[in-house]
């Protein structure tokens, strides 16, 4: 049954991708990309990667699509006829694809438990991590502890993204008068979003602190919390959102999250361990791991929340500016 679902989803993905190649209406292209993202999230669930599916759904289908739509609002939705020749790209793609297919012929068969991937390195995570790290969710253990340095890098990547977006677009405070949000008259939206936003934030907190036991963690939580504020900004307009959390404050928050993460590493160095060695954080190694993971997940959550919201602010204030002009 799982194979059947897999096949159907893969077929839908292939159709979506083909449609995107030939469509000229960029609005449809972006919506199809959102669908593509959701479909791949479903595949991830089907392949047991629940954490990844969660992230893909909130980031690929959520944040990325929203950002693309805002961009389209400023750049126009029609793709013009290309004058490029399609032969060279087609040739490059065919060669690359042929190389990959050639590479698959020697691959370990799909889903077989004897594959090298399941025999080396990973068994330790599966067998030992509940004892060594003390968390039932192995993905969180590996993410935050065994490969915590990667996750620090990931947080810094997000931080670099906001540096890039801010230097390119900047966030302008628009005066209230300038702005006539199209949604000002939407009474229904106002009421409903006021009910939903607190719930979404509550859910974000649940995802943040429940990530040790189930799917979720700082990253997903940050994105969900940012989504709540994005909804607020969309419905009530950017100036009101700025009054709740200003862009300058978000910059500090983004930096603070990275610093919080790194300071756990520095503290463990101070305690005599290596960088990010949580065992040294408390007398009992398991308790130390627990503290370490909670704090760094919080750091990730804070940075991701601040960065995603600030990026949206930057795009949103650009869009408003081009509307006014």
């Amino acid at each position: 049954m799982a194979e059947f679902i897999d096949l159907v989803l893969l077929a839908m993905l292939a159709l979506t991708a083909l449609r995107i190649i030939f469509l000229k209406d960029l609005f449809a292209v972006v919506m199809l990309f959102g669908i593509y993202s959701f479909l791949s999230a479903l595949i991830f669930v089907n392949l047991d990667a629940v954490d990844v599916a969660f992230t893909e759904a909130s980031v690929g289908a959520g944040i990325s699509t929203v950002l693309m739509l805002v961009t389209l609002a400023m750049t126009g939705r029609k793709e013009k006829q290309s004058t490029h020749s399609t032969i060279l790209p087609l040739f490059v793609v065919l060669v690359t694809g042929a190389a990959l297919i050639y590479g698959t012929l020697d691959m370990p068969p799909f889903g077989h438990p004897d594959n090298p991937v399941h025999q080396h390195v990973a068994p330790r995570y599966i067998e030992e991590s509940p004892k060594e790290v003390g968390l039932p969710n192995m993905v969180t253990s590996v993410l935050a502890s065994y490969r915590g340095f990667d996750t620090l890098g990931e947080t810094v990547v997000v931080f670099s993204a906001v540096i890039g977006v801010l230097s390119l677009l900047g966030v302008r405070r628009t005066k209230k008068k300038d702005l006539e949000s199209g949604l000002e008259t939407h009474k229904v939206l106002h009421v409903v979003s006021k009910i939903i936003i607190p719930l979404v934030i509550l859910f974000a907190l649940y995802v943040q602190f429940h990530g040790d036991f189930g799917p979720g963690g700082g990253f997903q939580a940050g994105v969900i919390a940012a989504a709540a504020f994005i909804l607020y900004a969309l419905v009530l307009g950017l100036p009101k959102a700025f009054a709740v959390v200003g862009p300058k404050f978000l910059q500090w928050m983004a930096a603070a999250g990275v610093l919080l993460y790194a300071s756990v590493g520095l503290y463990s160095m101070y305690k005599g361990g290596n960088f990010l060695d949580y065992n040294t954080l408390a007398a009992d190694p398991i308790a130390g791991q627990h503290y370490g993971i909670i704090i760094i997940e919080l750091g990730v959550g804070i940075t991701v929340f601040a960065v995603m919201l600030n990026i949206f602010y930057a795009f949103g204030s650009q869009a408003e500016r081009s509307n006014i002009q």
Binding site: A99, L100, Y102, G103, T104, L105, D106, M107, P108, N115, P116, V117, H118, Q119, H120, V121, A122, R124, Y125, S145, Y146, R147, G148, F149, D150, L152, G153, E154, V156, V157, F159, S160, A161, I163, G164, L166, S167, L168, G170, Q251, W252, A254, A255, A256, V258, L259, A262, G265, L266, M269, Y270, G273, N274, F275, L276, D277, Y278, N279, T280
Partner: protein, 511 residues
């Protein structure tokens, strides 16, 4: 305590300094702070190099998890040597950038510039030091994102399209590396480079691993701007702010070259790459074409930054040529050239940036008559230019010397001759600029403008590099010693790996 963590510090320090530089906010404060952090990173990498030269490999398990379960940082003579060049250039460029950036970047973006610079430095150090294939991808992306930001900070609108093209090409390259690492992981079950090396050797020829190798090579080639994949480099270097060009031209591509060396020599093994896959010939052919095509392109450009950008692609050709010779001397030539080229291009781009600062243009016509007006800047340009050509008593001569020696060792007269002919092109493109600067008169229209020498804050770092160019051209003991032990080490690991392979095989059998 610092001794113990020396390996991790050159990454952690700029990584932590970056958000602090953003919080400081004020231009001068974040400049001072960034320079300080980068200077400290330079001191640490200096110590790291001497430690690596005396002790050999230093391994550091992040999080206290032993490799291959945790992420390993691994320093040896080779990467410590490149790291030294990167942190040194970064510090000098930061000193230089204060005035230069004030002119070329909007005031609101100054602290963002320093933050991005530190992030880029952290990413590059991470790429060099990490011993984990996926961790390398993460740091690659940190440095790339910071680089796109840095390039797009210039005031000319063409920097935007250049940055976008760079972003698309760079992301394709990174994704190719991701695919390659995935294929290797699929076949071996590990991401740690040393562990990968041992386990790859257990497979004599596997299609999956060969495909993985090909994808990693293409991905890294995009990042290091190897000949047919170099299209992103000239526009990006031309339109980026001068300080950024000086930093990127002397570090980013070099780090990518090192990544290629590392994958070839310590992960896949020479036999696999050069004997079984026949990559040596491909790399050599591409390197030779790069040297000639791009040196020629450099002679016909009118924008001096573009001239130097094409020259960079040609010089990368020399580095790849060195490693494609597959000998200790050849690899040594590559390593020395990585270091020396960083010194030359840093100085050259700083001088060009100084001209832009005063004249407001980097067209070759704008250089007319500057020899009198800005004597120190143009003297620096001249010496660094001679170094690019490979005139004796400059650093450039040393790298060319070892490259030619390596070629002659193998009796490869054609390559040796090609290297020398390539230098003739350098005489042409550097000569054109010098001719304009010294033998042409300042145009009438400009004689009324007050063009004078730039401030010492820009001159000092430029001259430090120029003096380094001469110093390493005369006293070659440091560079050759480091490069020699680096390349011997790289060949040695390869041999160790082959021995391990036998052990690995026997283990496989026994288990």
């Amino acid at each position: 305590m610092l001794e113990q963590h020396l390996t991790a510090l050159p990454i952690i320090l700029p990584l932590i300094a970056a958000p602090i530089a953003l919080i400081l906010g004020r231009s001068v404060l974040s400049w001072g702070f960034a320079t300080l952090a980068s200077g400290l990173a330079f001191l640490f990498s200096w110590q790291l190099l001497s430690a690596a030269l005396s002790e050999g490999v230093i391994s550091y398990a992040v999080g206290g998890w032993a490799p291959p379960w945790g992420i390993e940082l691994r320093v040896d003579a080779a990467n410590a040597f490149v790291l030294l060049a990167v942190t040194a250039i970064s510090t000098l460029v930061l000193v230089y950038s204060k005035d230069s950036i004030e002119k070329e970047v909007k005031a609101a973006n100054h602290s963002l510039f320093y933050t991005a610079h530190l992030l880029c430095l952290a990413g590059l150090s991470g790429i060099l030091i990490t011993g984990d294939a996926f961790n390398l991808f993460v740091f690659l992306e940190i440095s790339s994102l910071a680089t796109y930001t840095l390039v797009s900070l210039a005031s000319d609108r063409r920097c935007l399209t250049a940055a976008f093209r760079y972003l698309v090409m760079g992301t394709i390259g990174a994704t190719f590396i991701l695919i390659g690492v995935g294929l290797l992981y699929m076949k071996t079950g590990t991401l740690n480079m040393m562990d990968l090396a041992v386990r790859i050797d257990a497979y004599d020829s596997s299609r999956t691993i060969n495909t993985g190798l090909a994808f990693i090579m293409v991905g890294v080639s995009i990042k290091l701007a190897l000949f047919p994949l170099h299209m992103w480099l000239p526009p990006a270097y031309t339109h980026a702010p001068s300080a950024v060009t000086a930093f990127l031209a002397s570090t980013a591509t070099k780090v990518a070259v090192y990544v290629m060396i590392r994958f070839i020599f310590t992960v896949f093994g020479i036999d696999h790459v050069f004997v079984d896959m026949g990559m040596g010939l491909i790399l050599m052919a591409l390197a030779v074409v790069a040297i000639f095509k791009c040196s020629y392109m450099a002679t016909v450009q009118s924008n001096v930054k573009t001239v130097l950008a094409y020259s960079s692609v040609a010089q990368i050709g020399y580095m790849i040529l060195g490693l494609s010779l597959v000998s200790v001397t050849g690899l040594m030539a590559s390593m020395i050239h990585i270091f020396n080229h960083a010194l030359m291009k840093g100085a050259l781009f700083m001088a060009v940036g100084a001209v832009f600062y005063r004249v407001g243009s980097v067209d070759i016509k704008a250089f007319a008559g500057l020899g009198r007006k800005m004597p120190l800047t143009m003297a620096a340009f001249t010496i660094a230019g001679l170094s690019i050509i490979g005139v004796p008593l400059t650093a450039g001569f040393v790298s060319k010397w070892y490259l030619v020696t390596a070629a002659l060792e193998q009796g490869n007269w054609t390559v040796a001759a090609l290297v020398l002919i390539g230098s003739l092109f350098a005489i042409v493109y550097i000569g054109r600029i010098l001719e304009a600067a010294y033998f042409q008169k300042l145009p009438e229209s400009r004689s009324s403008e007050n063009i004078k020498e730039i401030s010492w804050l820009m001159l000092v770092p430029m001259w430090v590099l120029v003096i380094a160019n001469i110093y390493f051209g005369v006293d070659t003991s440091l560079t050759t010693e480091a490069a020699n032990s680096a390349s011997e080490w790289l060949f040695q690991t390869n041999n160790i790996l082959e021995n391990n392979m036998v052990e690995g095989n026997s283990q496989e059998v026994s288990s």
